[in-house]
């Protein structure tokens, strides 16, 4: 029956008394603490316990692992553990042709892929001094805004799903599916488009895309408003979100937040207006902001952004000029030695690419700036003090994408 530990030397033996080896089942690293923070985090106080969520937890939006220190249901401290999706994209890109690197960009942001291709091609165009045709720029803005809408719809749906509502995600997916189908009509892919090229885009708009887009635009505003009405006036949903994960504007700026999360804290910073690129200066749209800075503000701000994106799409369709969609470029690109940084406003914030050229056909150095990584670092300040359920709300409202975080 009961065996004593000294009879079985191996800790892997299941017959070993578990009481003496409880630590085996705790999410404590097997090495001694390396930093003061680790020392502090992995020391349990009175009545506290660890809860390991992930990397295969249902609410972590990918393979994020979060070790929570709990006092009952209340979170005392959290420690996000990264690296489960690390592919070494930056190093891969340094060993690839300039054209090939664009394909590596897609999986960084697998919900809105175009927004990681965009800064890469912009950086290369700066290195090469290429003039992009205006029609290509309009197509980039058009497809990009469509992709932003699809990403925000997904974020709204998953927000509800993390809070236990199972229907909004499916309603969101109806619209998102229509968008990815029409993007597939011009790019050939539903998810990882690989559509932007250095000096333009990979193909003009076709009839399939335009007819689908026309159909969808006639009902998009109504559909989005109807889907949002399912949640916005739901008392349970509002109560779950209001005052959860509140970020004031000073701390948000200190934590290098960008995108909807920053604007929900009251900072009207949008790269499309702050550092205009592409044809955005020619387009008329507003930068919605909210003062509260909590999860509800971040959720509502995404709905406002969807409305603005629909405005931009409408203007793009009306102002789209004729002309080529690719600049004349040699097949083998050898930019002059130098460095370039390009950043664009994505659905989660500022995506930036820093590329250094040494005159060969490969980037000498390649660095990716991802907004989700910076939003994720605020977990340790926002989650403690809340309940386990608040952490789900926080995670859903920050809307991180693990592809870019782990690179």
């Amino acid at each position: 029956m009961a065996t004593t530990p000294h009879q079985h030397a191996s800790a892997d033996d299941p017959r070993v008394l578990l009481d003496d080896h409880m630590g085996l089942y705790e999410p404590i690293p097997p090495y001694p603490p390396r930093t003061e923070r680790e020392q502090e985090f992995y020391t349990l106080g009175d009545g506290e316990m660890f809860l390991n969520a992930g990397p295969h937890h249902l609410a972590t939006h990918g393979v994020l692992r979060v070790v929570m220190k709990l006092d009952g249901e209340r979170i005392v401290d959290v420690d996000p553990v990264l690296g489960y999706l690390h592919r070494g994209v930056e190093k891969l890109c340094e060993n690839a042709d300039f054209h090939q690197t664009i394909a590596y960009m897609d999986p960084l942001e697998y919900v809105a892929s175009l927004f990681c291709e965009w800064p890469a091609v912009m950086a290369y165009e700066k290195l090469l001094d290429v003039e992009v045709p205006r029609r290509a720029e309009y197509i980039r803005v058009l497809t990009g805004e469509l992709n932003r809408v699809s990403s925000h719809l997904l974020a709204m749906g998953f927000h509800a799903l993390d809070l236990g509502g199972i229907t909004p995600i499916l309603y969101s997916f109806i619209e998102r599916d229509e968008i990815v189908e029409m993007l597939a009509a011009i790019t050939g892919q539903r998810m990882l488009f690989n559509y932007f090229r250095i000096g333009g885009v990979n193909g003009d708009l076709n009839h399939d895309f335009m007819s689908r887009l026309g159909d969808w635009m006639s009902r998009a505003g109504q559909q989005v408003a109807a889907n949002a009405a399912l949640l916005n006036e739901n008392e349970i949903f509002v109560q779950r979100n209001r005052g959860v994960g509140t970020m004031d504007r000073v701390t948000a700026i200190k934590h290098c937040w960008t995108g909807p999360n920053l604007r929900a804290s009251g900072v009207p910073f949008d790269l499309r207006r702050a550092h205009p690129y592409s044809v955005y200066p020619e387009l008329d749209f507003d930068i919605p902001t909210r003062a509260e800075g909590d999860s509800l503000a971040r959720y509502l701000l995404r709905i406002d952004e969807v409305k603005q994106s629909l405005r931009i799409i409408d203007q793009c369709l009306h102002q789209m000029p004729d002309g080529p969609v690719m600049a004349k470029l040699p097949r083998l690109l050898r930019p002059r030695p130098g460095r370039a940084f390009a950043a664009i406003e994505g659905p989660r914030g500022e995506y930036g690419i820093y590329a250094v050229s040494d005159g060969t056909d490969q980037p000498f150095r390649f660095r990716i700036h991802d907004p989700s990584f910076l939003h994720l670092q605020s977990f340790t300040t926002l989650a403690p003090g809340g309940l386990i359920a608040d952490w789900m709300t926080l995670n859903a409202s920050l809307d991180p994408i693990m592809g870019g975080i782990d690179k």
């Binding site: 089942y25 809860l51 236990g164 509502g165 199972i166 229907t167 499916l170 109806i174 739901n234 349970i236």
Partner: protein, 445 residues
């Protein structure tokens, strides 16, 4: 046979107990009925002498057996209704409109590996689903399905119901504690906190009704509500009804109060480490609970098996024996003639119709027609058939509401859940009780 024996080998001890007990009870009941039919008088005398025992055996059998189709029906309803609300198609592969999918789900759960994790307290772990399932099943005993169709008519029926229903949480707590998993532990403790908190408004909201009814026997409460639908207690206890339904939602661990198995927070709560039929029992218990809580709401507040208006009693007494020899001709020739008559239009209308296809259609139509006629006759002539139908219609309306809420609402947070119970439901239930008591004192019962 090998599949069956393999399945049997995979069952746990409680599973084997249940699946041994079930056939024995069925055989006993069927044997009793056969004995009465064959031997008649003497057996009938024995039965009448021991009516209590016989009734108990029959009720136990029927209740154990009936929970399975009820759970299957609820599971199918949930899958299909939520699918329609999500603009999906839902199950449509197994059986017509996917109706047999929940049966296949049941078989799948039965065939799965029965796994006990290392470090789990295996005895508690094994018996936890049984406790939950038994608690759910035992509450069915006092439910009056129709006039004269109930397991037992206690004069403390409602008290028994609440006592047995409250036992279910013990099983959840046992499962959560013994699984050696922190998600399970959190789920088990959540369920304990939640169900104990909501038990109080649930019971208190029914006390106002008890003052009016003057009895705890569910059968008597239903009889008091006969007549027009305005006699239902929901019109005399509207606040009590609302509190009762909200608290019942929490008691059944249903959305928006399904924190016990909040899948986006604590994976599957108390059921995280369960697999196979042990998980199946938890699953069944949940859906049986939905039916039971709907049924109790109907019994207490919506008149149980009473029709919403005074139902005209038109007993059509059929005496087939009075026909004599022509009855034989009717029995032998009736189906054949009816089949041919019903098949003829199909055969004549379409030249491509084969004669045997037309006959199959005719035979199917004849069966549908016969069953329909018999049901209609039963509905008109027997009060229990009509009562059962009204009861099931009302109950499944509430099951639909539970499913509807699951498709629509997000989940509340644990502190909001507890705050809602203690700060809002409990004072409201006390107010309801006070107003009812005062009204009874002033107006006189």
């Amino acid at each position: 046979m090998t599949a069956l024996s393999r399945t049997w080998g995979r069952l746990t001890t409680p599973g084997k107990v249940v699946f041994t007990l079930l056939p024995i009870l069925v055989v006993l009941t069927v044997g009793l009925v056969v004995a009465i039919v064959i031997f008649g008088g003497p057996i009938w005398d024995v039965v009448l002498a021991n009516l209590g025992v016989v009734r108990f055996v029959a009720a136990a059998t029927i209740i154990l057996v009936i929970t399975i189709p009820i759970a299957f029906l609820n599971i199918f309803l949930e899958m299909k209704v939520i699918a329609f609300m999500n603009l999906r198609i839902g199950p449509d592969r197994v059986g017509p409109w996917g109706t047999l999918l929940s049966v296949v789900h049941g078989l799948k759960v039965l065939m799965k590996e029965d796994f006990t994790p290392t470090g789990a307290d295996s005895v508690v772990f094994t018996w936890a689903p049984v406790v939950t399932y038994a608690a759910a099943v035992m509450t069915v005993l006092v439910l009056p399905f129709a006039p004269g169709l109930y397991g037992q008519d206690f004069n403390i029926g409602l008290l028994y119901f609440f006592a047995m229903g409250g036992l279910g949480v013990v099983g959840l707590l046992m499962g959560g504690w013994s699984s050696f998993n922190k998600y399970s532990l959190l789920g088990g403790l959540r369920s304990a906190a939640q169900i104990i908190s909501y038990e109080i408004p649930l019971t208190l909201s029914a006390v106002g009704l008890l003052i009016l009814a003057g009895t705890m026997s569910l059968n008597t409460i239903v009889q008091q509500q006969s007549g027009w639908f305005t006699d239902w207690y929901v019109f005399r206890q509207p606040l009590g009804f609302v509190i009762f339904f909200i608290a019942a939602t929490a008691e059944g661990n249903r959305t928006p109060f399904d924190l016990t198995e909040a899948d986006s927070e604590i994976v599957a709560g108390f059921a995280t480490e369960y697999s196979g039929m042990r998980f199946g029992f938890f699953f069944f218990a949940e859906y049986v609970n939905v039916f039971i809580l709907s049924a109790l709401t109907v019994v207490l507040f919506l008149g149980g098996w009473n029709a919403p208006f005074p139902f005209p009693h038109l007993a059509v007494n059929l005496d087939p024996g009075g026909l004599g020899i022509p009855l034989l001709f009717l029995l032998t020739l009736g189906p054949a003639i009816a089949t041919i008559v019903l098949a003829a239009p199909f055969y004549l209308a379409r030249s491509s119709m084969r004669w045997w296809v037309a006959l199959i259609i005719g035979f199917a139509l004849f069966n549908v027609l016969t069953v329909g006629l018999i049901l209609t006759w039963g509905f008109i002539s027997f009060s229990w058939v009509a009562g059962l139908l009204w009861f099931l219609v009302k109950t499944f309306t509430f099951v639909f509401v539970f499913v509807w809420m699951r498709a629509t609402l997000p989940r509340v947070r644990i502190d909001q859940l507890m705050g809602f119970a203690w700060k809002w439901l409990l004072p409201a239930a006390l107010l309801n009780l006070f107003v009812t008591a005062a009204a009874v004192v002033v107006v006189g019962s």
